[in-house]
Symmetry: C2
Subunit: 354 residues, 2 copies
């Protein structure tokens, strides 16, 4: 074993991990990693946020992490020298997110993130993706976006398609409960709007790409298909069939008003296979649960394969998938590496085998 | 590109394929490959079988394969010089199957097979597996077992487990219809036996490992778990709750008699994760359909993840998975390579991208 291999082996056995962003997901990842005996070396927050300077263990509700969350990212990274930084800050690769990633990359650490756009940042011609890729290569580190979608919208579905020989379409439907989030998301999903208000909003709104937008490009890459054109998104309101209480809103949505809406993304491919994903975000009625459901059909349109995941706990799968991906990202080539290029996602036992 | 790379590139673009075994699965694979424009160079059958010498295209019901099925395997392989031989003859790595594989391997061709034991031939200490591995390495070819189980009992499940962080158990249940097969299988599943006859048979019978036995070892390997002990199998009768017609038997099974039985295999692992798979083979009543269902639970036993594939067409998934694996097996290192060591299963488009 030469010194580089020795260094890699040390990293793989116990990488030095920092968490950048200590919201619900960041703290949950921190708790799980700490419970697995991971080597947590820093927690980083926005400078001046109310968590800046607070005890990391207290924030996460665990014993034994008695050091403060840091608002001074650059200095904290220099002092802690993490091998891997988990970034759970926001969705899009905008200027703020770019600044965060580039600070981490320049410190010489790898990045693993839940930012949805990072699942396939080359989907749009976002110049920040090219710049970040070049920067990561220069600093010999890897940047990867993962999370729930890595498993449930990309790689499970690609394996499923691998049991098909004449693919025509791949159609995903997923459902999430607005009430699992807060009033901001209820507002964003137009809960309680009238059909007229929704139509007006739809005409006027300049919406960013959906959370699912990037996953169709990652899915195409995983399946080995070539996008033909770009993702088209359509949006349909979901109307309350009866009065429905919304916890997020703290009010009852009367019959006839919006419980939320469904976004449908469609991507055509040069091979003639159509990929689509519909994401329904609504206030749930009695007995409704999250699901992830995919139908495959052959080139004639006849249904062939069907997969359904019920009773999903998306917070659990998001955090677990990210944690299981850490060794893959450490081993990956430098640059932005999307999940279709990583080895097959798999479980990582925290227990040593005997 | 050096000459080896050139040779590999030619093979990957259009490998010369032979089919060894022209039963239902072999002929279906032949039809699909031919429909995709694959380069079929030979069809091989048992010498003296009623298909020996028959026109391959006529046997498969396709135009343009006007050469005879061959009973003289060695000479046929020498003349046709396939890169890859699809072997669909039988389940176990017994002396007959070993002879077939070694004939192919000695001819310098790779082997891809549906033989269930080949999914993980190192599961038992079958000395033929070690011999075949050595022989394949000597001849610089790869031998791999795949099929429906590659996707539905191994790799989909391993990806699913990759979205979990504290795995305790992985439990599969699958159901298949005796009436989809023939009277021989109905007899083997003890259809129409009384409970007493079944109990007697169970005491006396020397049964070979179940079809699912090998998949638990492949699943453990794919998940990264270490088997602790060997697979234990238990068998439970399934009793008719009402009179049920069996097409395979050509008779009605009266209430109280056996519709079939369920085999349950369990494998414990050093990491404390229990893997199990229950396979129910019965005569179906009204509305019953094949399914493949998996439940994951955490170390405390609490359910975490659930996946269900409904309305499965196992013949379709078996053939398609094998076909999609051909490039992986051509690219793999020499020797017996099990599916947990191959790249992630994926769809292979027969259409060129534009």
């Amino acid at each position: 074993m030469n010194s580089t291999e020795e260094h890699m082996s040390r990293i793989e056995n116990s990488p030095r991990i920092a968490i950048y962003g200590l919201g619900a997901m960041g703290l949950e990842i921190l708790r799980i990693l700490h419970g697995r005996g991971a080597n947590i070396v820093a927690g980083i927050v926005r400078p001046g946020s109310d968590k800046d300077g607070q005890d990391l263990g207290r924030l996460a509700g665990v014993a034994g992490l008695a050091f403060p969350a840091r608002g001074d990212a650059e200095q904290a990274l220099r002092e802690a020298a993490p091998d891997m930084v988990v970034v759970t800050v926001s969705t899009y690769l905008d200027d703020v997110q770019y600044e965060i990633f580039s600070t981490v990359v320049k410190s010489g650490a790898n990045v693993i993130t839940l930012a949805e756009e990072m699942l396939y940042p080359f989907a749009t011609d976002n110049p920040r993706a090219r710049d970040l890729d070049a920067l990561a290569k220069r600093h010999q580190v890897t940047v990867t976006g993962t999370g729930h979608q890595d498993a449930y919208w990309v790689n499970l579905i690609s394996v499923l398609a691998g049991s098909s020989h004449d693919l025509g379409s791949v159609t995903g439907r997923l459902s999430w409960n607005v009430d699992d989030f807060g009033p901001a998301l209820a507002e964003q999903q137009r809960v309680n709007a009238t059909a007229e208000e929704f139509a007006e909003w739809q005409t006027a709104a300049e919406r960013p790409p959906t959370f699912t937008y990037y996953s169709l490009y990652a899915l195409a890459a995983a399946i080995g298909l070539t996008p033909h054109g770009t993702v088209e998104t359509t949006t349909e309101p979901v109307i309350a069939l009866g009065d429905t209480h919304s916890a997020a809103l703290g009010a009852t949505v009367p019959q006839g008003r919006l419980l939320g809406y469904t976004d449908t993304d469609i991507l055509h491919t040069a091979e003639g296979v159509t990929l689509s994903i519909s994401s329904q975000g609504t206030v749930y009625g009695e007995g409704e649960r999250d699901y992830n459901e995919w139908h495959l059909a052959d080139a004639s349109g006849a249904p062939t394969l069907h997969l359904r995941n019920s009773d999903l706990n998306t917070a659990h799968t998001t955090c677990a998938t990210l944690i299981n991906r850490i060794p893959d990202v450490i081993d990956a080539r430098p640059g932005i590496v999307t999940v279709d290029q990583l080895p097959q996602l798999r479980y990582r036992s925290a227990h040593r085998s005997v």
